[in-house]
Symmetry: D2
Subunit: 261 residues, 4 copies
């Protein structure tokens, strides 16, 4: 069965800016959905900020194996309820891929636990990405490096936790270097951050970038059944202890009580 990917986009620049609209006539989400659907193993569709509940209802998330996220100018417009829902889906096992300016998206900041900040410059300079982790699934089919002739620069320090693995580094013409591909796990969910993708450049039409997105979808996908409640903290009564023990000492909790939260 194909991996079900939902590509979420705030979908504003495409509506408000002629340049972005001309680069992405179907929206950034449209370009990514088309690219992903070019692989028989993936079934991708889109969701946008403008839809009810931003297109991310409980039902939609339950049918999403991997969620891609692109946002920039409207991070603050994403409802906290949807953010909580998305985080719970990740903790339950949904994969997630954060793109470019989503470094400041609410769910990314929430899942990272850090400030997620960086330096930046919009000058259409050259970016060159280098593979740092040999034969990592996310680099399948890629050369050792590839270039994007025009990109926004992001510079270090990048305010994220140490990743499980650093998969790409970027070199920029203006003199900066950046950790551009980082993997994480939160709860049962796999997370990948991928740097490129400024809205005024045709980054998501680039074949190497599309290859990364395809690989990332497959890497982030976890075939295990989604956890029904990723936040459960069950009490294990003395009578059900795996080794015979007797209750000792004073107690705070009563039998059958829920723990505090």
């Amino acid at each position: 069965m194909a991996i079900r990917v939902t590509v979420w986009n705030e979908n504003l620049h495409e509506q408000e800016n002629k340049i972005v609209a001309s680069v992405y006539p179907d929206g950034i989400h449209g370009a990514i959905v088309t690219a992903l659907n070019g692989d028989a193993g993936i079934s991708a569709s889109a969701a946008t900020l403008q839809e009810p509940e931003h297109g991310l209802t409980e039902e939609k998330l339950a049918e999403t194996d991997v969620l891609f996220w692109w946002g920039h100018k409207a991070h603050g417009d994403v409802s906290d309820q949807v953010v909580e829902r998305v985080c719970n889906a990740v903790w339950s096992g949904m994969g997630m891929v954060f793109l470019h300016s989503a470094h400041f998206a609410k769910p990314f900041k929430r899942l990272m636990g850090g400030p997620c900040n960086l330096t930046w410059r919009e000058a259409g300079e050259r970016e060159r990405l280098w593979v740092t982790s040999r034969n990592h699934p996310i680099t399948a089919g890629l050369p050792t490096h590839f270039e994007l002739e025009n990109e926004e620069m992001y510079g270090e320090p990048f305010g994220v936790p140490e990743p499980l693995e650093t998969v790409f580094l970027s070199w920029f013409s203006g003199g900066e270097a950046f950790r551009s591909g980082l993997t994480y796990k939160r709860g049962a969910g796999n997370i990948f951050y991928f740097r490129p993708g400024h809205e005024t450049y045709p980054t998501y039409h680039d074949q190497n970038v599309q290859r990364v997105l395809l690989n990332a979808a497959k890497w982030a996908y976890n075939p295990a059944p989604r956890l029904s409640d990723p936040n459960v903290a069950p009490n294990v009564p003395v009578t059900e202890a795996l080794e015979p023990i007797e209750e000792r000492g004073p107690r705070l909790h009563q039998d059958g009580e829920e723990g505090y939260r």
Copy 2:
């Protein structure tokens, strides 16, 4: 100069429960403050939920090198504003030590980005902690293992991200094992989670536990000046690029503009 530690406690069980009050007549915070002040290199004081702004004003945090956190039944009563303030202090370089049931404290969940859940049993069973990272600063002066005759059990899976280092494992009489000492870094701040410390048992009077707390305060302390704004994401104009580049391609942002958040 001594490391300035603030020990935060919700301070409720000590007021409401006779057993806890008898074990910790000066409160859990009082016991920890006393233990830490036994070391000439540390200057510890307390803050509690009941104080204005929970005792954690901007001024107090600015004068705190390392913040300890104990909470259990009133996680929800901690104001979101204080949580945000605490996280910003950590990202700026303040060290932080989370104790026992603080696994569900708001700032811990916020800094971890995961569900932070676990299984539990309050039966006064034996816990034995094993050092897993040889000569780690947090284990200085400890034997290879030590016991707490009565403790609450916490069981895996513990819903936290992979740590930088696993420092302790716990063994429980009832049959569980747990990762009991975990290190993290978020922004510029060092974080340590330490499992033991159920309020009905005299855990914080134990000498080995006190040794861990002392070591953790010293480990988490970062002598570097606190960052003035841990969330800053500065634009680097083309004219200030470190390598000479010319602006190319279309732009979204105007000169001098702040980036989106």
Copy 3:
């Protein structure tokens, strides 16, 4: 195409000890090969210390996607040439699973870079394994914990580097806890260490253990083409630099020279 697994065993206890021979009449390697071949996606065969080049020729390794390793009393009899060959295969992309007493096997020590030591006790005590990483591929189909009624104890500190992920913890009747499932990457190769498997107990006949081994084979398998030379350190001449630069300053090396090793 099926994943090609080679199960290597020193195959001595089975020949020399009646108890081991009765528990594993086809050898530990035989039991594991049979278990793995029960999955249609795996094609497993064995290799042993006694074969020429220990059964691990260049050709054999080139046809091995994942190598399992069990050794105990004859670590020192494994030729250094074969160890180097195995390490090069791992660095080129071959997966590897080290079992139980292989913690002291030459290739494990060589790939870990640490002492790999631990404490131990052979008393047939109960071991209970706990899953620590929710929905990790290596835990697919497993309960949250499972028991082995008779096992050798291994205790901390385990002298290995911090893993990419801790997948299992073990609890032992005698009072120890241990990190029993650890993942690593070395060069392009995935590595998994799995603790259970003392030769006098029927551990490899246990269904949960067999499930772990199956999962580990699939996890460690990397479909990417094997690197032709994992140790290559190519010179990039100035004339082939990706950005135009001019040679400056004094030189040590001559054109076309190999670097030092």
Copy 4:
């Protein structure tokens, strides 16, 4: 008491090459020793390949808190016995800092467990190092970035394991990026790899580089007593088990027996 640092150098280029001799009239080791001794908290001395046992006797290592290592053309001339001795000292708690071309030094390869390879170009191009880990002790007193006008280029993929933390990234004029500062722990010992330092350039006279070396010495130093035997794997007899257990099942080992290695 001052941290005792030994700076090891193969000390060949300085003897054989006029350029290197003019840049480092006291040898690379001499320059580093002088720089480190500028800090009151450090007491540094040198050891070289040419001395008996390369200047690294058991006695010398026992009196060394942190060992620096610079080698290039004579990696193969370092005796395996000394390499084993150095690794044992690290596992016992000695800190170690590997510099530049020491990426291919025998002890580095031995401690990493990987191929440790990279790409390279000797063209005197500009290197710019970026701090990636805010307020890391190794970056104390450094700006967010600093430049070395002439350096050898090293490019990714760098064949080392994922580090505990990535502390620096490098940008090169010719178009490459590299992970230039990486921390590890092996056994009880802290390890830092720092990229810059080609012998024909005055890198070790640079104030920022000297600051990194000073910081690295302090970071790598572990005040805990050195382990007497980092490879010990003690048997814990049933009679000394921490929980009362009875021996069960068949045995392979006899009472008081050493385990296999």
